[in-house]
Amino acid sequence: MANTQGISGVAKQAAMSAILDGKTLKGALYLVSATTGPTNTAYTATGEVSGTNYSAGGVSVTNANTAGLTSTTAYWTPSASITFTTVTLATAFDSLMLYSTTDANRNLGVFTFGSQTVTAGTLTLTMPTNDSSTGLVRFA
C-alpha cells in the first residue's frame, strides 16, 4: 500500500472550527450592483441593501453547529434559516455575506443567488443539509 499526500481531515476541521465554532455571526445582503466577494476581508456597508425594516449589518445567524468531519471533508452550516422579517428591499439584491462579529466582522463567505426583490414581506434563506456533500461551507 503506497503513501498518499494530502491535508488531513482533522486539520481542515480544526481550521474551520477556529473561525466558526461558537462565533457570533451575522448575515448582510448586497445589491446586484455591488462588488462584494471573497476579497472583502470584513463586513462592508458599501453596496449593502437598504429599505424598510432592514438594519445595516443585517441579521443574526444562528450558530449552534460545530465544524463536522466526514472522511477528509470538513463542513459547517448555520443551524437555522436566516430571516429578514417584514422588509421592503425594492432594489435588486443577489448575495449574502456571512461574517463574524466575534472576530472584527471577518468576512467568512459571500453566497450568491438569483436577483431578487422583496416588498412588504419576509425573506427567508433556508440552509442546505449540514453534511460533507451539501454543507454551506466545506473544506474538501
Binding site: 463542513y75 417584514t86 438569483g114 431578487q116 416588498t119 414581506g121 419576509t122 425573506l123 433556508t126 461551507v137
Partner: protein, 67 residues
Amino acid sequence: MSDPIFTTRGYLPADRVELRKSVTEDGSARYHRTDKFDRVDGAWVGNDLHIELKASLPLFGETGQFS
C-alpha cells in the same frame, strides 16, 4: 383565525389577502415566491420570498511539493 398578513397597506386580515405562489430554480437555489393581492381591489400589495440555498462554498485544501 389566521394571523394578519403584512402588506404595503399594513397588516391586513388573512382572508382579505390572496396569496399566489410560484417556484423557480437555478443552480444556486430554489426560489419560492408568494405574491400578495388585496381582494378588495385586486392590487398587488407585496411579496414574501423563501430561498433554499443549494450551492455551498467548497474550499479545496491543496498541498505543495518539497523542492
